[in-house]
C-alpha cells in the first residue's frame, strides 16, 4: 500500500463537513502549532520536511517562507494559489472540493507561522462551485472558533477570504495572481522585488499552491523529519498526481515520491495501464509546460535506470532526455495519438493565455500556434519545423515570466523526440495536395 497523507480520508462519507473532518483528526495541526509552538518553530519544521512548492516550480517552501520580510507595523499576507489552470492538472480542485477543511487548516497553521492575520484563497473563477464549498467550510471554521479573533485563546487573530479569478491561466504566476487580487489585469510583475518583500498591496506576502499549504498539516502534526522520511532524496513526502489521457483509470492519486513511473502507469492502484489494450506512445509528465517524452524515455532514463516519479529522476538527462515533475499533471498518449496535434492544442492554449505584456511571448505564442495550425491542417512545409525550433528558442528565457518558457518547452521537446512525426505529417499532406 502506498503512503497517504492528504487523501487519507478522502473517501469518508461527509468528509466535506466540519464534524466529520474534525472526527478524523482535523485541525490538530492548528491546535499543536498555536498552543505548543512558536511561529519560528513551525517554519523550522517546514524547512526540515524538505517540502517543495507543489504548484510546479518545486522551490523549497521553508526557504520561501524564511525570505518573508517582517518590517514593523506592516501587515503580512498569505495567499493561496488555487488558480489551477495548467493543462493536465486537476488535483487542487479535487482536494478543495473533496476535503475543503484540509486546505483551511493548512492556511491557518501556515498563517500563524508567517504572522499573517489575513489570508486569501485565490481560486480560478471557473471553479465557482468549489468557491461555494470553500466558503461554506470557512463559515463552519469561524463558527467552531478556528478563525476570527483570539483563536483558541492564544491571542492569534486570523481572517480568511476566498477570491474568485476571472479566467486567465497567467494568474497562476504568483505576481500576476497578486495583480489580479488587487483588481487589475493579470500582468506578471517584473521581479525583483519579490512578493516576500513587496507583494499584495505592497506588503510582504507568501504565495503558495493549495497542495503545498495542505502538506503543512501533516508536517506540523508528525514533524518535519517524519515527512522528510517519506519519499526519495530531495523529493520528500507525497505528491498528488492528476492522471489523464489514454489510460484506464484517470483521476487524482497521492503517491509517495519515488514511485517508479512504470508502476504508476501500469498498476491497477493508479492509472491501470494504457486504455483499449494499446501501446504507450508518449507522456507529458508534469502539466502542459514540461517536455513531452516518448515511451522509452519516460519508463527509463537515457542511462537505462528506471524512471521514478520524483523531481530529480524525471529531470534526469536534462532537456535532452528528461522532463520535469512540474505540477504533476500526467497526460498519457497511446500509439494512435498525434503528438503534433496535441502540441497544437498546447500552442493554442499558450497563445490564448499570453498576457501580452512582453513582445517575445505576445507575438511568439501566436506565431507558433499559426505555424502548427498550418502543419496540422495539411499545409506544412519542411522549413516550418526549423522555424518552430528557432521561434521557441527565441522566446525561451527572454520573457518577463515563465509563460514564455512554458510555451517553448513543449514545442522544443516535440521536435526533439518526434521530428519524424512532423515530417510524416508534412509529407503525407504534401502527397494529398499534389
Amino acid at each position: 500500500m502506498s503512503k497517504k497523507l492528504l487523501l487519507k480520508h478522502d473517501h469518508e462519507p461527509g468528509i466535506q463537513t466540519y464534524e466529520v473532518y474534525r472526527k478524523h483528526g482535523g485541525y490538530a495541526s492548528v491546535e499543536k502549532a498555536l498552543k505548543t509552538m512558536t511561529p519560528e518553530a513551525v517554519v523550522e519544521e517546514v524547512k526540515k520536511s524538505g517540502l517543495r512548492g507543489r504548484g510546479g516550480a518545486g522551490f523549497p517552501t521553508g526557504m520561501k517562507w524564511s525570505f518573508l520580510a517582517k518590517p514593523e507595523g506592516v501587515p503580512r499576507y498569505l495567499v493561496c494559489n488555487a488558480d489551477e489552470s495548467e493543462p493536465g492538472t486537476f488535483k487542487d480542485r479535487y482536494l478543495m472540493s473533496r476535503i475543503p477543511h484540509y486546505l483551511i487548516e493548512g492556511m491557518i497553521t501556515s498563517s500563524f507561522a508567517l504572522g499573517a492575520n489575513t489570508s486569501y484563497i485565490y481560486v480560478r473563477g471557473e471553479y465557482y462551485y468549489v468557491i461555494a464549498i470553500l466558503e461554506k467550510a470557512i463559515k463552519e471554521a469561524y463558527a467552531a472558533g478556528w478563525l476570527g479573533k483570539n483563536i483558541l485563546g492564544t491571542g492569534f487573530d486570523h481572517d480568511m477570504y476566498v477570491q474568485p479569478g476571472g479566467g486567465a491561466y497567467i494568474c497562476g504566476e504568483e505576481t500576476a495572481l497578486l495583480e489580479s487580487l488587487e483588481g487589475k489585469r493579470g500582468n506578471p510583475r517584473i521581479k525583483p522585488p519579490f512578493p516576500a518583500v513587496k507583494g499584495l498591496w505592497g506588503c510582504p506576502t507568501v504565495v503558495n499552491n493549495v497542495e503545498t499549504i495542505a502538506a503543512v498539516v501533516p508536517i506540523v502534526n508528525d514533524g518535519g523529519e517524519a515527512y522528510a522520511a517519506i519519499g526519495i532524496g530531495k523529493s520528500t513526502g507525497t505528491k498528488l498526481i492528476s492522471a489523464s489521457g489514454h489510460i484506464n483509470k484517470p483521476g487524482v492519486y497521492e503517491i509517495e515520491l519515488g514511485l517508479p513511473v512504470e508502476e504508476f502507469i501500469n498498476s491497477d492502484e493508479y492509472c491501470g495501464g494504457v486504455w483499449k489494450g494499446r501501446k504507450l506512445k508518449a507522456v507529458v509528465a508534469g502539466g502542459s509546460s514540461v517536455p513531452v517524452l516518448p515511451a522509452d524515455l519516460i519508463m527509463k532514463t537515457a542511462a537505462g535506470e528506471p524512471r521514478l516519479m520524483s523531481y530529480e529522476s524525471l529531470a534526469d538527462g536534462g532537456f535532452a532526455s528528461g522532463t520535469m515533475l512540474g505540477s504533476g499533471g500526467f497526460i498519457v498518449m497511446d500509439e494512435t495519438a498525434s503528438v503534433v496535434k496535441n502540441l497544437w492544442t498546447f500552442a493554442r492554449f499558450y497563445h490564448h493565455e499570453s498576457c501580452g505584456q512582453c513582445s517575445p511571448c505576445r507575438e511568439g505564442t501566436g506565431w507558433m500556434e499559426k505555424v502548427l495550425h498550418k502543419i496540422v491542417h495539411g499545409h506544412g512545409e519542411m522549413k516550418d519545423i526549423d522555424l518552430l525550433w528557432d521561434l521557441q528558442r527565441k522566446i525561451e528565457g527572454n520573457t518577463i515570466c515563465p509563460l514564455g518558457d512554458a510555451a517553448a518547452w513543449p514545442v522544443a521537446s516535440a521536435i526533439r523526440h518526434f521530428r519524424s512525426e512532423f515530417e510524416e505529417m508534412i509529407n503525407s499532406h504534401a502527397v494529398e495536395h499534389a
Binding site: T89, E126, Y129, Y169, G183, K184, R348, H352
Partner: protein, 179 residues
Amino acid sequence: MENKVQFKPETLALAKEIMGRYPEGKQKSALLPLLHLAQAEFNGWLDVPVMDMVAEVIGIQAIEVYEVTSFYSMYNLKPVGNCLLEICRTSSCWLRGAEDIVSHLENKLGIKEGETTPDGMFTIKTVECLGSCGTAPMMQCGAQFHENLDTDKVDSILDKLRADGKRTNYFDAVVVKEY
C-alpha cells in the same frame, strides 16, 4: 439619468460586504468578484452601463473596469444565450474526443462555435483547460461541470437545460461532487 443601471439592493449589500474584505483604500480588489455578480444579475454579460455602474460602486475609473473585463475570459462583453456551453478543447479533452462533442453540439443546435441559437437559449463557446482532465471530455454550464461526456450525455444535458428554461450562472446552487 432616470433609468440608471443599479444592483438590486441585496446584491449591493453583498457587494459592500465583499468590498469589506480588503483593507481601507484597497477596494479595487473587489472588482473581479463584483463583475461576476453584475454578470449574473444583468443577463449573463457586461454592457458598458453595467461596467460603469461597477466602477462607480467601487469608486474607480471606468477604463480600469474595461481593462479588466477585456482581459479575463469569463466576462462576456456581448450578449450570450441563457445557457453558455463552455467546452474544453485542450490536450486531455482533445485526446478523449472534445472535437466530436463540439461538432455534435454544432449539428444538434444548428449553430457554430461562438454563436447563439435564434431562440437565445444556447451559446457554444470553446474554452481552454478547465481542470477537468481526468473526466474528459467535459463542458461547463453555469457552475456545473458536465464530465465524461459522450453524445448521448450531451443530448440529455441539453434536454434538461431546455426543460428548465432558466439562465444559468456561476452562482448556481452548490454542486456537491462525488467522485
